[in-house]
């Protein structure tokens, strides 16, 4: 268990700032997710923490020690790669004990440790196989076991679920979370998938263009986005933004409801919605239309849970409303919170 801290980190590739002055600190045993679209610098940030990239400027600290100049092996970190990076010529056991051999552990200790890790991950019966004989999920667990045996201070996970099919991904996500809770090691997890981020992270750091846009608990990031980028990157469908004067008025689709679906006790902002299309998705209704009244006429989407059964059809205009405390205001020019 350790605290990872990044101070004003900059990594420049051929004039492009992949990581552009990031400050970040985990808490002990925290599960921190780095979330962002591809090219936002999240993987570069992770690799800088691992020691696979030398930052152009700034420092990486682990447990309060500056490790910026140190090679990966001196940092006591373990990393799981997107591809898992299993050694194809070694057996599962050979893969798992590899870091221990590098650490100079005796053979007996190594095997004991490997067995423990393998059993923990439920791959004890696969030790004699070669990676190419394993399924995607099994490979992922081998990679985890290999990371685990070193008893690292920090786990670094680079999109470990992206190579799994959708069905497997859900269960693997669940296992990953339980696994981390069991070993309670500080974990930094990189993903571009907001569902994974929301589901796994104790906190989420949202990155864009090499900068951290917001860092906070999933609920905070979701409910109180720091800027329009976060607001629109997280959430599906994203937050609606309606221009009004110099500002943008933001509200989540699930908060735009027919007037009668909102209790009269809450302070409502009524908005007429000219509906042009309706989608049914997992029981929810996604209603597309143009709102007026709240600001400039803007195309928005409303997400109606199955519990709201007011009849709505395309081509009609209905009275919708948003609870006033759900409204978020952004400065139109900068995108930041007003």
């Amino acid at each position: 268990m350790a605290v990872v801290e990044v101070r004003n980190l900059v990594k420049q590739f051929d004039g492009v700032r992949a990581v552009d002055g990031v400050d970040l600190a985990t808490e002990e045993g925290e599960y921190l997710v780095l979330l962002g679209p591809s090219g936002c610098g999240k993987t570069t940030l992770l690799r800088s923490i691992a020691g696979l990239e030398q930052p152009t400027a700034g420092d990486v600290l682990i447990d309060g020690h500056v490790v910026t100049g140190l090679p990966p092996r001196a940092r006591k970190v373990a990393m799981v790669f997107q591809s898992y990076a299993l050694y194809p010529h070694k057996t599962v056991l050979g893969n798992i004990v590899f870091p221990l051999r590098a650490a100079g552990m005796t053979r007996a200790d190594r095997e004991l440790k490997a067995k423990w890790a393998a059993d923990l991950l439920g791959i004890g019966h696969l030790l004699a196989r070669k990676p190419r004989q394993l399924s995607g999920g099994e490979r992922q667990r081998v990679a985890l076991a290999r990371a685990l045996v070193r008893e690292p201070h920090v786990f670094l996970l680079d999109e470990p679920l992206s190579n799994l099919d959708a069905k497997l991904r859900a269960s693997a996500r669940d296992e990953l979370k339980r696994f981390q809770q069991e070993v309670s090691t500080t974990t930094i997890y990189v993903t571009h998938d907001q569902v994974e981020a929301m589901g796994l992270g104790d906190r989420i750091a949202v990155l864009s263009h090499g900068k951290v846009r917001q860092i906070g608990k999933p609920v905070d990031v979701y409910d109180d986005p720091a800027d329009t980028f976060v607001a629109t990157f997280i959430g599906s469908p994203p937050m609606n933004l309606v221009p009004r004067d110099e500002q943008l008025v933001g509200f989540r689709p699930e908060h735009l409801l027919p007037v009668d679906a909102l209790p009269a006790t809450v302070d409502r902002e009524k908005v007429p919605l000219a509906v042009d299309r309706i989608e049914y998705l997992s029981g929810d209704r996604h209603v597309y239309g143009t709102v007026t009244g709240i600001g400039e006429a803007t195309r928005v989407v409303a997400r109606l849970p199955a519990t709201v059964d007011s009849p709505i059809s395309a081509g009609e205009t209905y009275d919708f409303a948003v609870a006033r405390h759900r409204l978020r205001f952004f400065v139109a020019a900068t995108g930041e919170r007003a």
Binding site: A50, L52, R73, Q82, A85, Y87, A102, R146, R150, L156
Partner: protein
């Protein structure tokens, strides 16, 4: 409007026919340049054909009897194996090292890559002629360098008090020289082959090993080399085949001398069969190349298949 006929199958749609069409050149090539010469060689080896008398008379294994009675043949056979074996090891080891330099990222890497590949792009004989000068008995620049360094030409010097090493005049040095030229000319090839293998290793693997705490040597011997083993095998076998079948280096440097110390099967087959005129015996000598080449070819194919499987 003209009537449009029903859709027709064209030549380009007939995959079976096309396959044969595309295969034909290779088949002709193999027949003309491999099978025919091989059959001819076997035929000649069992005949009394000479350079001046192409009339064919079957003489059984008489040429082989004569070959076996010839001490120079045995020397050539031994030399062929020694040269091939030692060259192969050096070619692979140096090729691996060069390959690492080739893939490294540093200033001026293009120049270094160009220089590294130069020996391979130079025709064998041109290179060998340059070496002939390098190894000259009197004018060798290597000797000059050794003399400048005080390693040669002074009493008590490391390489003796003589003014020259006589690289091609001493049997052991001549053998070493021939091997060195083979290594010099084939190492770039092996480096490029190994480089292809190195480049094909996912970068993740090396990084994973680094994060796993493995140092340079452990990564080299536990990750890089096992991963490139099939490619290294191919490089080794190419090195072996090129050394094994080449006579240009020997021909230019030593003509097989001194006293047949550098005579190899190919050169001996030529001196006996063409210069000496005894085509039958020359062919018999040359046939001893065949089993080894066959073994090498099979080994290459297996290594390649192993790569495909992975």
């Amino acid at each position: 409007m003209t009537a449009v006929g029903p859709p027709r199958r064209r030549l380009a749609d007939r995959e079976g026919t096309l396959a044969w069409l595309f295969l034909m050149p290779s088949v002709v090539y193999i027949l003309a340049l491999v099978a025919v010469p091989f059959v001819l060689a076997v035929g000649f080896a069992l005949s009394d054909v000479t350079a001046g008398d192409p009339s064919y008379d079957f003489v059984g294994f008489r040429n082989f009897d004569r070959v076996f009675d010839d001490p120079v043949f045995w020397r050539s056979l031994g030399n062929t194996f020694i040269f091939t074996g030692i060259s192969m090891v050096l070619i692979v080891v140096l090729g691996k090292i060069l390959a690492n330099i080739l893939i490294a990222d540093f200033k001026g890497k293009w120049l270094v890559r160009f220089l590294v590949l130069l020996p391979w792009t130079t025709p064998v004989t041109l290179g060998a002629i340059a070496w002939l000068w390098m190894l000259d008995s009197i004018f060798s620049p290597i000797d000059w360098l050794l003399r400048q360094l005080g390693l040669l030409g002074a009493p008590g010097a490391l390489f003796g008090a003589g003014s020259n090493m006589y690289w091609l005049g001493e049997p052991e040095l001549a053998m070493g020289s021939v091997i060195a030229v083979h290594v010099w000319r084939l190492t770039p090839l092996s480096a490029v082959i190994v480089m292809a293998g190195l480049v094909a290793i996912p970068r993740d693997l090396d990084e994973a090993a680094r994060v796993d705490g493995a140092g340079w040597w452990r990564r080299m011997f536990e990750v890089t080399i096992p991963m490139t083993l099939p490619v290294i095998a191919v490089a080794a076998l190419f090195g072996a085949i090129f050394t094994f079948t080449d006579m240009a280096v020997v021909d230019v440097l030593t003509n097989g001398g001194p006293n047949n110390a550098t005579q190899v099967l190919t050169s001996w087959a030529f001196f006996r069969g063409i210069d000496g005129g005894d085509v039958g015996q020359g062919a018999a000598v040359a046939l001893f190349l065949f089993p080894l080449l066959l073994a090498a070819a099979i080994a290459i194919l297996r290594a390649v298949r192993k790569m495909e499987v992975r």
